[in-house]
Amino acid sequence: MHFELSEEQNAIYDLVVGFMADKWSGDNRRQGLDSYPCQIPGELLREIADLGFYGISLDEKSGGGGEPLLTSALIAEAAGGSLFPSIMNTTLAAAKALDLCDADSNWLAKVISGQQTVAIAIEEPNGCWGLDSIELTPQMDGQGGYLSGSKILVSDGDFAQVFLVAALLPDGPAFIRVNANAEGVEINSMRRLDGQSIVELEMKDVRFEQDDVLGDGATLNQVYDIWTLLIAADLLGNAQSVLRMTTDYAKERQQFARPIGSFQAVAHRLADIQVDVEIGRSLLYGACLALEEESDEATALVSAAKAWMNDLGVKAAETGLQLHGGIGYTWELDIHLHLRQARSNAVTLGDSKYHRARVASHLMSPEY
């Protein structure tokens, strides 16, 4: 029994934090708010791919790094805390998805080497989350079929060459591979609150073949859980960064001839966030381990982590804004960027209420 990060994991986390501190800043994100969507220089994307992050949690025989899922989550955490865009999570999730669906190895290799961006399209314009609310049903014929309908909130759809579109097939849910440039596809940018890329994907009689169908209900659930956990990790990193920023400020900023951090009304709010961050970190590790070991509680733990991190991310950023005073309310300070990212992620792949409902159904199941 041991429940702590390995040396490699610590090293990778530190590497990502250091890398991002060098190459990325809040200014890039502020620009994204004025000229949507937030762009990432191709050079930087290539460097990231070359560091081998995207496939880090895939088996070595799939061309990956052989690390557990938690290592990907740590990368997502470090990237999220550095305000690096969602393409990190999207690609980590897409690589996992292709691997779980036994996709062609050349295709997978393209994705983990950063030559192709794959976006995952799940949500539809019905105000709900989750695989249960998918209604998109293709028209099937012998060799494949036609897709008509729309997906929304598709992360990084502005950059994607390929979409994995979740749909209801006669045998249950599956992904359908749709190329961005296929006939009948229309991609409309949606402005995300934090300047990141999300799109509406309109499909009109889009043709697909039998071998464009990937995965089944079980793999879709796994992909949903993994992606959800990566976004939870992003929220955790975000909260951790805001806490660090605000703690530093509370030590420096003087009022009434003393640092504001010496006022308990300030200090106790920061202490509470520290507690919530530690609990969040514990939930993240626990959920990653449960998914890895395919425990019966895995889905409930993923939801536990997401629900907790949704609340934590928002609370940390709002507290950080308040405790910075007037400066906290300015465009220049990064706090609003963290808040925007937290607010957006907190309603991506399920808000707290949705995930608590998933936990509740676990508690009410006969196996519990």
């Binding site: 029994m1 702590e4 509370a250 640092p259 520290q274 514990s282 381990l289 733990l301 536990a304 009410m364």
Partner: protein, 394 residues
């Protein structure tokens, strides 16, 4: 990262289960018959646990301990809690004083006291708080003056849990009133039968009498009962307080309380449906489960630190603060779920779970005060974990 137990640990668990099957049933039968004094029955149960080898797991063998592995300790705390076995009555001696003596006591003190802490022959209480010294413990006033080979103690202690049944008390006293407040404190072991001690039980808010106040009038304590150096008691008290705040056992009792709530909400009807069928009850229970899991995995992280010999230090306050808040949320949720009947006292018609919810609620309110208040935990986290400047002159 993994949370698997070794095959040896699993065998150990099986043996413990079989052992509990026999011994716990016996104890429960004796307690139920009701013709043994409950304190005596609790002491006997502790003795049984001790003889079975299920107490003092981390302690050295020469003082009656087991020198068991940490994973075996986890197994024992899990199994004892799952089986519903009562905690050993001398928990204060075992989990607070014992580790302190192992670290700071003299060889004679270890041999004299540790085995009897474990087998329940001598029950201990903690004489730290005073009417004028709670959060600011170091300002304590109880005086001890050296007189030959004795200390003569005068003063008052309060909120002493189990003071009325304890045989011994570990006591903080002021031995040098002229020194800075932390530098004039000594740590003494006091036999409760010494002449000059008066113990008065206090009823707590929940109606029980589990703590008391104690008055010391010219109480003579032999010099050999000094732990550590004269005027060196504060440092030792600090390690006592750290011991008080760490550990996994809290989670398991929280888990039991939460299971109780879940059972209640499936068996209790509110209107035409069960309590659990309401969306808000589901949301509330889910949130409590999420927090319980967070605390559980935090416990595993702390345990890994222990395995790697990293002391808990101020981070123990994170778990203490979070756990007491969670207990209180569970306590309050009991009232929410029970609805109109939440107010009905035990032993009356329509009472729920024989008054247990109410007991759970009141019980939970003490957790954010005893062992250091939640506000003090927040101060510690702010100062020692986040490195923020102190909020007050001290």
């Amino acid at each position: 990262m993994d949370l698997k137990f070794s095959p040896q640990d699993e065998q150990y668990r099986e043996r413990l289960r079989a052992w509990l099957d026999v011994n716990l049933k016996q104890h429960q039968a004796v307690s139920k018959a009701g013709d043994v004094d409950p304190v005596q029955a609790a002491r006997d149960w502790q003795k049984t646990l001790c003889e079975g080898g299920y107490l003092g797991l981390s302690w050295p063998r020469e003082y009656g301990g087991q020198e068991a592995s940490l994973t075996q300790q986890v197994v024992v705390s899990e199994e004892l809690a799952r089986s519903g076995a009562p905690a050993p009555i001398n928990t204060i001696g075992i989990s607070i004083l014992g580790p302190t003596l192992i670290q700071h006591g003299s060889e004679e003190q270890k041999q004299r006291y540790l085995p009897k802490i474990l087998n329940g022959e001598e029950l201990w209480c903690q004489g730290f708080s005073e009417p004028g010294a709670g959060s600011d413990l170091a300002s304590l006033q109880t005086r001890a003056i050296e007189d030959g080979d004795h200390f003569v103690v005068n003063g008052q202690k309060v909120w002493t849990s189990l003071g009325m049944i304890a045989d011994w008390c570990f006591l903080l006293v002021r031995t040098n009133p002229d020194a800075l407040k932390r530098e004039g404190i000594s740590y003494l072991l006091c036999n409760m039968k010494t002449p000059g001690i008066t113990v008065r039980p206090l009823r707590n808010a929940g109606g029980g009498s589990h703590f008391c106040e104690m008055f010391f009038d010219d109480v003579r304590i032999p010099r050999e009962n000094l732990v550590g150096e004269l005027n060196g008691g504060w440092r030792i008290a600090r390690s006592t307080l750290d011991n008080e705040r760490s550990g996994l056992s809290g989670v398991i009792s929280i888990e039991n309380n939460l299971d109780r709530l879940l059972n209640l909400s499936t068996s209790l009807n509110r209107g035409k449906e069960r309590a659990i069928d309401s969306d808000s009850v589901q949301q509330q229970l889910a949130q409590l489960w999420i927090e319980k899991e967070g605390l559980k995995y935090l416990g595993f992280r702390n345990l890994s630190d222990q395995i790697a010999n990293r002391p808990p230090g101020p981070a123990a306050s994170v778990g203490k603060l979070f756990a007491s808040r969670l207990r209180q949320k569970i306590g309050k949720a009991g009232f929410d779920i029970a609805g109109p009947l939440a107010q009905v006292g035990k032993k009356s018609p329509h009472s729920i779970a024989r008054g247990r919810l109410q007991a759970m609620y009141f019980d939970s309110l003490g957790y954010s005060i005893g062992g250091g208040t939640s506000e003090i935990m927040q101060n510690i986290i702010a100062e020692k974990v986040l490195g923020l400047p102190r909020s007050y002159e001290d």
